[in-house]
Symmetry: C2
């Protein structure tokens, strides 16, 4: 299935977050979106670009931290330099996406934007683009549109979207009845069994002006400051320096998506395209199923890994030989200055190692 390029559709790619549960692969100075976690030969950021390019061409704007702007420009070297925006400091997702919306609104007041994080993996990009294309059509009616992921299992790691009524005139879109926070296991199981809930992957599509007008209704100062920053391209850096530190820190979900859903102004396009948020090594292990040496999955050169009576994940990040003998569900992450050995069951607790490193002053390693 091919989707025509939509010349009023812009992609916004927030590229932030340290990914401390993926330490020592992901670091503050080299967060996960800069790595080829999928073993595809392209980093997660490049994969995000590759997936969106058939829909938006070069209408893609990355918002990242000042520390990462050079790495982002290096990885996306075809992108015009002014389409990588460096936030002076982290001010949460509403400021990041809202700034992108304001910059794009100035270029094209009728533009539709879709916001897609730089660190997701999607197995079926064509199905993803079909979903985004429909979302863009729905967005032109003036609503905020989210993508709702068909649940693979009763995850307690994601928020959910409750489907409302089908929207007339569109293939699969529904109104959003409600956004719900991460549920407990029993509630998650009920959600999935009901068929009425989708995972909230934090992907939004709307006219740039709709994003900012919804924001103006809830947080008028924030909407005004973002439009002021974007109003004069030649003064962008100066206005960022002046206004950015004072912006309200709030997530886009709380800032506009939840209030708009309560007001009946949010739609959802359900999708099933093999979405993965590689939050920890357990998720990475699942993603790499099939790549490796016997029952051990390998990110890197599998020829470097000797596995005997073992299962799990090895990240071969140096040129050393790695032998694993008699361990089940082990996670070994070998990098030049740090080695992690844990298990998939402890994947969520890797952050505790990073905490120990910070407490002991080893900020060079985090």
């Amino acid at each position: 299935m091919m989707h025509r390029m939509d010349d009023q559709l812009w992609a916004v790619v927030p590229a932030g977050g340290a990914g401390t549960r993926l330490w020592p692969l992901s670091r503050a100075h080299a967060p996960k979106f800069l790595h080829d976690l999928a073993g595809s030969g392209r980093t997660l950021l490049q994969g995000t670009y590759d997936r969106l390019e058939p829909l938006v061409g070069e209408r893609l704007l990355v918002v990242t931290g000042v520390a990462h702007q050079d790495a982002v420009r290096g990885q996306l070297d075809g992108l015009p330099a002014d389409q990588v925006i460096a936030e002076p400091s982290p001010r949460d997702s509403m400021a990041a996406i809202g700034l992108a919306a304001a910059i794009i609104e100035r270029k094209d007041p009728d533009a539709v934007i879709g916001s897609f994080a730089a660190d997701h993996v999607i197995a079926d990009p064509d199905a993803f683009r079909a979903c985004v294309a429909e979302a863009a059509q729905v967005a032109r009616t003036g609503v905020l549109v989210t993508l709702g992921i068909e649940p693979d299992f009763a995850s307690i790691g994601f928020g959910y979207i409750k489907l409302g009524d089908r929207l007339d005139g569109f293939a699969t879109a529904h109104a959003v009845a409600e956004f719900v926070e991460k549920p407990d296991a029993a509630t998650a199981a009920e959600y999935v069994a009901s068929g009425d809930y989708r995972w909230n992957a934090g992907m939004f599509v709307a006219r740039a002006s709709v994003v900012l007008d919804l924001l103006a209704a809830e947080h008028p100062d924030l909407a005004r400051d973002l439009r002021t920053i974007a109003a004069e391209p030649a003064e962008l850096d100066q206005r960022l320096a002046e206004l950015w530190p004072g912006l309200t820190k709030i997530a886009i979900d709380h800032a506009i998506a939840e209030p708009a859903a309560a007001a009946g102004k949010v739609a959802v396009v359900p999708g099933s395209f093999g979405w993965e948020d590689i939050g920890d090594f357990d998720a990475l292990d699942g993603l790499l199923a099939g790549a490796g040496s016997g029952d051990v999955r390998v990110l890197g050169d599998a020829a470097q890994v000797i596995a005997v009576d073992s299962t799990g994940l090895v990240v071969a990040g140096t040129d050393r030989t790695i032998a694993v003998l008699g361990l089940q569900d082990v996670v070994i992450v070998d990098t030049g200055d740090a080695l992690l050995v844990t298990t998939t069951a402890h994947a969520q607790q890797v952050k505790s190692v990073v905490d120990v490193l910070k407490e002991s002053g080893r900020t060079d390693l985090v």
Copy 2:
């Protein structure tokens, strides 16, 4: 307790064996006796020298492979160069110890030699020296003397020595009733419960001439060739090159100790001095009890290791930080070109990794 230096006592230190169960710490080009496995600041070879020096002064002769002679000389730089003998090829323990006996017999026909492997660890060197001093006295009566280690537990990893009658005129020496091979678990338990058995640590003390005469009775060609090689110091290298490749490969236990025991010509001096044969990482883990970060023992700089909810052994052989999270009885051995991750329960199977490396042509790593 001090023991006078015995100026007719020579120490013979066979320094061989790759220690493949300690890979990747121990390698063919750097076997375990060249490493500081005890974390004492001295290698096992140096520890062996340190332990013997108060008894023998510089009357110590190392027999090692040609590949290791430079490393041995480097580690024992006070030793005269002609006291490090390089075997052209491995011909088992009888040839190695017999050559040393022949060289020492030529220097001093009345000399007593004691043979002590280069890769053992002894917690109480003074008790060890007391035992050797008594063994040397017993050896002067013309018998072959072995040291018998008080068993700590019913090991199935060692051969045993059955005590015979006490020998008149000595503090603790017994005749040897019998040498027995490594027993099964039930037999080992019986041996230990009886109180009549000691571990055979492969340590022998005898006049050099007694060693060679016992050998001449069993393997006359071997005894003759060894004496021929040693007869002319100036021709040692040439005679080694000519005769060594044709020597019978046999262990000293089978060649002389067992036949002599059957003939009533072997004595044993029982000892309890914290002897450890560090055969694998489980043994190394036991040896290092107390050294480390929390419940993880560390060989190397413990400050490099972050252990959370974990037990086991980390060998920090590079300057990298090593984090271990949520693993019990884990063994992590970090070296410059190879990393091993296993468990103490799999310590005996580390050799299988070395086999895989050999089969796949990675002889550079073994």
